[in-house]
Amino acid sequence: MSGILASMIDGLLVGSVYGLAAMGLSLIWGVMNVINLTHGAMIALGMFGMYLLFGLVTTNAYLLLLPVIAAGLVLGIVVYWMAVHWVIGRSELMSLLSTFAVNMMVIGIGTTLFSTSPYNVNFSLPGITIGAYTFTGNHIAAAVSAVVIALALQLFLYRTRPGKAIRAVADNREAAELMGISSTAVLTIAFGIGIALATASGALVSTMFPFTILSGGAYELKSFVVTVLAGLGKPAGALLAGVLLGLLEGALTPFIAVSWIPLIEFGLFVVVLVALPHGIFGRATA
């Protein structure tokens, strides 16, 4: 019994990283109604960003999160002006296609540079042993980092002027313009932050598991499940839903083969889509 509990706690730790990734997807959707299909590629870039930085400066890997986040922000702004700005306000299919194109470009370049063989970041923190079970230090540190970043984002969105401008644009873009808020500047920044969250979560994953340039795809799909669980466009809910998904995985892994888990997750995805279209935390009237 305690084995299941330990597995669930580990799931919860990993799940907070899923949640962080989903926050990026959710923020971008909430602010500009763009389903960002570069998400998986950006997660993968976060993984390799961490890998390369760690190769350059061997320090505590979690300190390297800051440069990864900064690079993610800049990358996001570049991608916004390459592929997103021109299709804002047009049908959602347009932004799906243009972000998918960027995704393919990044994956193509990444495959050339790194092939598809697995990499890992050779850094580990001491774990915590409780009774017969040891929780790996990296999983704990990754979870703490994810929660700290998520809280920082919430504070930014609810307590600062630029953060509130982002929420205003998400709420009503035309009215935000009337207030003197440049919606283009806000969309650029919001996309940058969304990508920074994706790269940060990728960097965190790279400290927990081995990865390839294609690994982002799996986390992208999990992000979709999490985002739908939370209700689209609700970044705070996304973190919580990510934790729930991790918990579910943790509870299931002792009993069934890992390869069955996507089936269960996507089964849940479909059920939530049909039964609770506003997410498990959403209001029926929203």
Binding site: K164, A170, N172, A175, L178, M179, S182
Partner: protein, 237 residues
């Protein structure tokens, strides 16, 4: 006479459909100017084109003599051209306080944000009571107060209001008009699009009558109120 806002032969529309066929308006500083006309005459389109939410197909918009035709709405807002839009267009997921705070977003409005907030709370004490509530939970009248309050937070040079009284109880509409009158006496330039023609003519200094995307009649409001065609068409007598 000091002109705050001028429109010169402005043309505009939606998609392929032209709505405005050369609108020319002159708004004097410190006066209240109203635009009246039937539904679909182009009143809202005029304001949206002035603001830049809708692109002008032709003609010019001048703010205190400066050509601002091609500026985006946020650039115009930063120069003090303020539109309280039709349908209020609040930020529904943000609190009343935050909505007002967004009104004080621009650099020029930020400087006087504190004084302006006090003034808005003085005009509409209800908003202070509801400060922490999400704006979507307000009643229609309160939402209209918030839209107007948010506009005042913007430190307007010219305040344009689209349908102040629409959907409001007559008492409340009257109250808002009196508020506007006070503001105008304090020197604010106001442009009002209004479906309540009685009130509009009684309260304003100058009136434009819009029909089918053209200016039909213009004049001092008390003169316009006496014109037979206006009485027949808009005042029903």
């Amino acid at each position: 006479m000091d002109l705050a806002l001028q429109l010169e032969n402005v043309e505009s529309g939606y998609g392929e459909v032209q709505v405005l066929w050369g609108i020319s308006l002159e708004v004097s500083s410190g006066k209240m100017t109203t635009i009246i006309g039937a539904n679909g005459a182009g009143k809202t389109t005029t304001l949206r084109t002035t603001m830049g939410s809708l692109r002008a197909w032709g003609g010019r918009v001048l703010l205190h003599g400066e050509d601002v035709t091609r500026l985006s709405p946020h650039a115009k807002a930063n120069r003090g051209l303020v539109l309280v839009p039709e349908g209020r267009q609040l930020f529904p997921d943000m609190s009343v306080e935050e909505n007002l705070e967004m009104g004080g977003y621009s650099k020029r409005a930020r400087k006087r944000q504190k004084q302006n907030l006090e003034r808005v709370y003085e005009l509409f004490p209800r908003l202070k009571e509801r400060g922490k509530q999400k704006s979507s939970t307000l009643s229609g009248g309160e939402q209209q107060m918030l839209a107007l309050g948010r506009g005042l937070m913007q430190e307007p040079v010219v305040l344009m209001i689209d349908e102040l009284s629409l959907g409001l109880a007559p008492v409340l509409a009257q109250q808002l008009f009196i508020t506007l009158k006070t503001l105008r006496e304090q020197g604010l330039t106001i442009v009002l699009v209004e479906q309540n023609v009685h009130l509009a003519l009684a309260m304003s200094d100058y009136t434009y009558v819009l029909a089918e995307g053209r200016i039909n009649i213009r004049g001092e409001s008390d003169e316009v109120a006496k014109m037979d065609e206006v009485r027949r068409a808009y005042l029903g007598r």
